[in-house]
């Protein structure tokens, strides 16, 4: 047996939707992170609730990238593919590197399984041109049954442990400490010690099987840890980090957190997460529709809460009227858009960046709204915090954009210390203004004051009709409407956002790679690869999209070539062209519902440079 030192390794667990691949992948990433590897994960699950067992459409995957140094993406292709059945091998093999190790459960490659997976012969490896030497073929189901024969469990329950055998095998392959996995399971199944015990037994069996049987044929990889940032960490998905960001901001602002929401893929986990935390006073209302999710949040905002509504693109369509009401009433509101493939129902479980123009412009009237996009699962925390801070301090609805990739992916999250985060100070109307205050009086930065019901002497009416700048009464005066339109715009334009940061060869890059939101990791990895190949490349990634950072034009015009790469048909490029005079970028656009592939980016960007 040979132990290979590797910089990073990508493992993809795949099987039937019900095979527990997400859990196996999660445990593996936690185990790896615990020893200090950096991690990035991406679940790829089918849209069907539960497609027929063993069918091609029912395959669910979970990819984990672990690295000695920092990893920015879940990886293009995997070094190890776990395929729990024939359909998984058929659909997932395309994600494997040419020299990847393939782990299969031979018990799930019977004639019926092969037929369901549309194999024509019994020589499934031959049909797919897979070198048998790369395959660790084990009768996994049989071994799980044997292992649990004395447990008294029924076959169905035993089968639920198959994923743990695969996990054990992968842990052996990567020389991982099983104790960490055991502890994870003991905590997860604290109330069902029998299940924990069975799972632990099966992991150990998988590990031992690898050790005893395959020592002679396979390599064991070792990922050492470099560049460690000391601290305490947890594994966190983007959706969970977003929920945590809202909770943190509410606590910092001293406000009750209210979420009005309606279930929608891939945003629902934010509703799930926040619903759990009533012990922190979080109020969640699962509304009758998307409209009410947003409208009730706006009511909560009027009543003095930090109000949030969470959804995906189709929900934004329905929320847009209440978002617009928040614009004209100048009340704080955070609208989370976890983007998915569109238009209409589109690709519900897949990832795109196609809602940007909807976020910027998808409302009637002149309706400016700040737009912020999170760049990674862990960045969702900071982005959510920033969205709340801007909403509360500038009395405006804010759109926080993530996407299915960032929302479901996970990374190692260094536990934040709330004391290190900036204060959040909403512009409450000062008591001394009693008697002279009117609803649209503004603080120095153009922000309307907030008078929360319950304060005597500040009773007022807000509404969707245009109001007089001075009195706050309904007004159709043309001059006043023009003035109010400008004031609402100026208020958003005046919001201070951090400067755009340039990474890589910032002084002499020949190509600047520009993107926004969830593509950060892939674009960064592409830049790294190109620089390693001797190219002069830099990266600038937008987190704050409206208003744009003050140095946007300066950065974009500094480099001879700029490519705007995004998972849409050029929405950011269009926005930048509109805001930066004379800016004509190259574009890289892909709308596949899948994350970018770094190798493709490198190839395209290199071609661009050589043109």
């Amino acid at each position: 047996m040979e132990i290979k030192e590797k910089e990073s390794v990508v493992v993809r667990f795949s099987g039937d939707s019900g095979d527990g691949m997400q859990l196996a992948g999660n445990i593996f990433s936690t185990v790896s992170a615990t020893v200090g590897n950096s991690i990035s994960t991406f679940p790829d699950y089918p849209a069907d609730i539960r497609a027929p067992q063993g069918s091609l459409t029912g395959v669910s995957g979970f990819q984990v990238h672990i690295g000695a140094g920092q990893v920015f993406t879940p990886g293009d292709q995997c070094d190890v593919l776990v395929a729990m059945n024939a359909a998984a091998l058929k659909t997932q093999y395309k994600f494997a590197k040419p020299d990847a190790a393939i782990i299969i459960d031979t018990d799930s490659f019977g004639p019926k399984d092969l037929e369901k997976a549309q194999f024509k012969t019994e020589d499934y490896l031959g049909e797919m041109n897979i070198d048998p030497d790369r395959v660790i073929a084990c009768p996994l189901t049989t071994m799980v049954k044997d292992c649990l024969a004395d447990s008294g469990m029924d076959v169905k329950s035993m089968m639920k442990c198959r994923n743990m055998f695969a996990l054990g095998l992968v842990c052996w392959l990567f020389d991982r400490d099983l104790e960490i996995a055991f502890n994870f399971l003991k905590e997860k199944f604290a109330k069902k010690p029998g299940i924990a015990e069975a799972n632990i037994k099966v992991i150990q069996a998988g590990y031992d099987y690898g050790h005893n049987t395959h020592s002679s044929v396979a390599n064991v990889y070792r990922i050492e840890t470099k560049n460690k940032v000391p601290g305490r960490y947890m594994d966190i998905t983007g959706n969970k980090a977003t929920a945590y960001g809202f909770i943190a901001a509410a606590e910092k602002a001293g406000l009750k957190l209210y979420l009005g929401s309606y279930p929608i893929t891939p945003a629902t986990d934010v509703l799930h997460e926040l619903s759990k935390h009533k012990s922190l006073g979080v109020t969640t209302v699962q509304c009758e529709d998307e409209i009410s999710g947003c409208a009730s949040a706006l009511g909560a905002s009027f009543a003095g809460a930090l109000a949030v509504t969470s959804t995906s693109g189709p929900g934004i369509c329905l929320k847009s009227e209440a978002m617009n009401l928040a614009v004209i009433m100048e009340l704080p509101l955070v609208v989370l858009d976890v983007q998915r493939g569109g238009p209409a129902t589109g690709l519900p479980t897949k990832s795109e960046q196609t809602d940007l123009l909807q976020a910027l412009f998808g409302r009637n009237g002149e309706s400016p709204m700040p737009v912020i996009a999170a760049s990674s699962p862990t960045d969702c925390f900071d982005a959510a915090y920033a969205a709340c801070k801007i909403a509360l301090e500038h009395m405006t609805p804010v759109i926080l954009m993530t996407d299915a990739y960032v929302a479901n992916g996970s990374g190692a999250f260094k536990l934040p210390n709330l004391a290190d985060y900036p204060a959040i100070n909403p512009p409450y109307v000062p008591e001394e203004m009693k008697g002279t205050w009117t609803p649209y009086m503004r603080a120095e930065n153009g922000t309307r004051y907030w008078a929360v019901p319950g304060r005597q002497g500040f009773e007022h009416i807000l509404g969707g009709l245009e109001k007089d700048d001075k009195t706050g009464a309904i007004s159709t005066n043309p001059e006043n409407h023009d003035l109010m339109t400008r004031k609402r715009q100026a208020k958003i334009d005046a919001i201070q956002v951090p400067d755009l940061e340039v990474l890589g060869d910032k002084d002499d890059a020949e190509l600047l790679i520009v993107g926004f939101g969830g593509t950060f990791g892939h674009l960064h990895a592409a830049m790294d690869e190109m620089r390693a190949a001797g190219k002069k490349v830099a990266q600038a990634h937008f987190k704050f999209i409206n208003p744009l950072p003050k140095n946007t034009a300066e950065v974009l015009k500094k480099y001879p070539k700029v490519v705007v790469a995004e998972q849409n048909m050029g929405q950011l490029a269009g926005w930048l062209r509109m805001k930066v005079d004379g800016f004509v970028p190259c574009q890289f656009n892909q709308v596949k519902g899948q994350p970018f592939v770094v190798a493709e980016l490198v190839e395209n960007f290199t071609q661009l440079m050589n043109k």
């Binding site: 305490r232 594994d235 009750k256 922190l280 409209i291 009730s296 009511g299 909560a300 934040p416 009773e459």
Partner: protein, 330 residues
């Protein structure tokens, strides 16, 4: 603190002269003064339509929002701030057409809102189209040959959504209106008050049978919990049970005596007879038709938060972080 109606008044209403909304607004001011909740602890939230202008004439907190969403917005305000007394004001289009979904769900959840439905059976602000409460065959600008659809009966929707409070008054009848507004305030939970209100311009006379005092004496019955359901200028009529329903009879005729007349029970959990009363075309039932206690959504949300706070050991963000699987990199 003692208030007068002037403490709740603001501005000059812009409704057409003679519009039923004027009458209702005056009653609302009076009712709020009698209820005595401070203007700064009161929010009046409306949607869009003629009647939804109402918050502008209130010296309370308020919002005149977007079409149909008043109940949804009021829901968030009440749940986020249960201390606030929330009045939600909609017309028949706002509340039952574009806002029908929010109307039924606010009732189903039993959120402690006072829900006013000003029913003039017409779209006034858009100048005269039929509404979801216009009768079948109704001729309007958008139905020049008459509508070919049946109207909603608001009580039916409320009861169908498991509403626990339904009352009705005529806009011109100040004492009757004030009485049900106070009852709606007293009732904890979603309280629907249907106000029969005349649109002098586009649907004049729609509630003529009961719009003045003389008409109500003949054609309406004031329901009072625990009292015999008698009506008519000399209480010569009564409501009796017939089969699975109710009917109005003249006492002394067909062998009916006062002993046969039903006693109104607004507190009865089973809404069968209350619905029959609400749906009578003659006489028109006024007053509190249903008023049944039930847990309110906002109270339950608050109680659940307190319960979970007592159960769980983490109560702030730092403690929440510690509930995760954490590893340390040294």
């Amino acid at each position: 603190m003692a208030y007068t109606q002037n403490d709740f008044k603001k501005g000059q209403p812009r409704w057409c002269p003679g519009c039923g909304d004027h009458f209702f607004l005056a009653s609302l001011h009076k009712a709020m003064a009698e209820i005595g909740v401070d203007p700064w602890n009161t929010a009046v939230i409306s949607g869009i339509g003629c009647s939804s202008r109402l918050p502008h004439y209130m010296a309370t907190y308020g919002m005149n929002t977007i079409h149909g969403r008043a109940a949804a917005i009021a829901t968030g305000a009440k749940v986020a701030n249960p201390e606030l007394t929330v009045w939600q004001v909609s017309g028949d289009g706002d509340g039952l057409a574009i806002g029908g979904n929010h109307f039924i769900h606010a009732n189903r959840r039993n959120i402690n809102l006072n829900m006013i439905l000003l029913n003039n059976r017409i779209y006034g602000l858009t100048k005269g189209q039929y509404s979801p409460t216009s009768p079948r065959g109704f001729v309007s600008k958008s139905s020049p040959y008459g509508t070919v659809e049946d109207p909603f009966r608001p009580a039916e929707l409320c009861f169908g959504a498991r509403g626990h409070f339904f009352a009705r008054a005529v806009a011109t009848d100040a004492p009757g209106t004030i009485e049900i507004l106070k009852a709606a305030y007293e009732h904890k939970g979603a309280s629907v008050c249907e106000i029969l209100q005349n649109c002098v311009i586009f649907n004049n006379g729609t509630h003529d049978a009961v719009y003045d005092k003389a008409g109500r004496a003949k054609n309406a019955i004031y329901l009072k919990h625990g009292e015999k359901m008698l009506f008519g200028e000399n209480n010569e009529y009564g409501i009796v049970q017939e089969g699975f329903g109710v009917k109005a009879v003249k006492l002394g005729e067909d062998g009916y005596t006062e002993a046969d007349v039903l006693v109104h029970d607004a507190k009865c959990e089973d809404n069968t007879l209350q619905l029959k009363l609400a749906e009578m075309e003659w006489p028109v039932a006024l007053g509190v038709i249903r008023d049944v206690e039930a847990p309110t959504y906002d109270d339950c949300v608050t109680a659940q938060i307190e319960e979970v706070k007592a159960q769980k050991k983490y109560h702030n963000f730092a403690e929440l972080l510690e509930t995760n699987d954490i590893w340390e990199v040294k």
